[in-house]
Symmetry: C2
Subunit: 310 residues, 2 copies
Amino acid sequence: MAILVVGSVAFDSIETPHGKRDHCLGGAATHFALAASYFTQVRVIAVVGEDFTPENEAVFLKHGIDTQGIEHAPGLTFHWTGEYEGTLNEAKTLGTDLNVFEKFEPKIPEEYRDTEYLFLANIDPVLQARVRKQMPKVKMVCGDTMNYWIKDHAANLAIVLRELDVLLINDTEARMMAGESNLVRAAEKVLAMGPKSLVVKHGEYGATAFFGKRSFEKQGHVTLPFRAPALPLAEVVDPTGAGDSFAGGFYGYLASQKELTPEVFRTAMFYGGVMGSFAVERFGTERLQNVSREEINARFRLFKEISHLE
Amino acid sequence: MAILVVGSVAFDSIETPHGKRDHCLGGAATHFALAASYFTQVRVIAVVGEDFTPENEAVFLKHGIDTQGIEHAPGLTFHWTGEYEGTLNEAKTLGTDLNVFEKFEPKIPEEYRDTEYLFLANIDPVLQARVRKQMPKVKMVCGDTMNYWIKDHAANLAIVLRELDVLLINDTEARMMAGESNLVRAAEKVLAMGPKSLVVKHGEYGATAFFGKRSFEKQGHVTLPFRAPALPLAEVVDPTGAGDSFAGGFYGYLASQKELTPEVFRTAMFYGGVMGSFAVERFGTERLQNVSREEINARFRLFKEISHLE
């Protein structure tokens, strides 16, 4: 089934030990949509400026992504400038030009209203909640957030968390959200805030899913966490968008399946890792634009091989 | 088959957010020996002082550990004082009283000479090399080291590395040894220094094994890395000795098997994680002294459950 994603479409200027790129197509919604597009149909709600070209839009269209919800506004597209050093684990933001994104007011096209799967990428929780409200018939809602919203917009974020099926965040965000350094206890606290399930991303070490009592209502109470590996990569060219690509692979696979079972959830986490591992191989969305279904299948098998006992 | 371990038997005074313990039985060789004792017979070479009591020795004997090689010297036993804060990921050393350990000169009892499996716990690489040399018929040699030896005793360490079957170190140590921040490239450089295989421990995120061309000589060239999970734990009481306990579970299982195959190696990594997860549940070696074989089996199954796809 189709996924509706709301979030940023942006241009990223990135410097890493592997080089420099100016104004490459990026943004959370872009990485997410491209990664998910290999599994299911994706619809995007975002805003871009006059510098967003037909060539940029073609990147979405080529992957069957519906761009009706991408609003074109006067001014420039959101532009992020950042750099990575050393282990490439953390981005240093050098500039955030919100531009048209500053007054982003998500509008849901009539054709999008019946979408069953909603992804709230990392934007102001006020906007996340507003979109969620306009989709009363949605079957599943997943979302992301970041330190800025966790720290300074906790009350608004709390409203979003209450209605999430799955929250996908990283270690630091989970610990910050819970005010608790132990990851298991942090996960318990985050789950108590509302999400049925929590996926914590550990970057190069993989990801862990924590399940609450409402995670698998049809299958009864499943409490064991699940650990998915990441592929050890000799070359990480640019980690920008790795988390969004993980989310895209994860949710794209989920939305492509008939039913949400523990095994489907686990498999989705592997596909999340797979798409994240492709994303970082080149700058921006270069790799996600050109991966093949065969490569995805092969890498999925590789993820199993490097982590499975007989 | 039996394992001979050479390393420290010590008293640890530890403070963590969960409390404080004074002079609990510890040291790398102790943690290793106890963890390995659940899988195979262990022989210890270490030195202790006059404060090492028959009750302390009984801890070893109760687990069938051969203590003939524990030398009793005039003076006090090695005493480490440290504390952990926050995420408990890193120890802060408050005091290192080497005492009798300062002049430790490992002597191998005649009865130990035929031991087929040797573990060189974290001690001066000069001593590691000396022990290795006295065991010409050994079948397999594994070893550990730490930042201090990597930084300031690289030449001596290089001699030890050349003869290792498996080197077990953590992320920081692997990156420091290679002078390389990317873990895969760091692993390649470390393997080029001599060890046939490398196990990098990631603390709460599990461990990764990297294999060189000589890793599985009988089975041909196996290059894919292997990722083993760690159990997400709600309560880490004291992480002291977790790495040594991992090594004990890992090597204990290996030594208990007829042949070293990729699958045996992978299973050993799971048992390493299992023993590490027990070790941190209580202060010092308390938990390792009292775990049952049934608990170990159950936790091994749990490790599989939290990481396996159908």
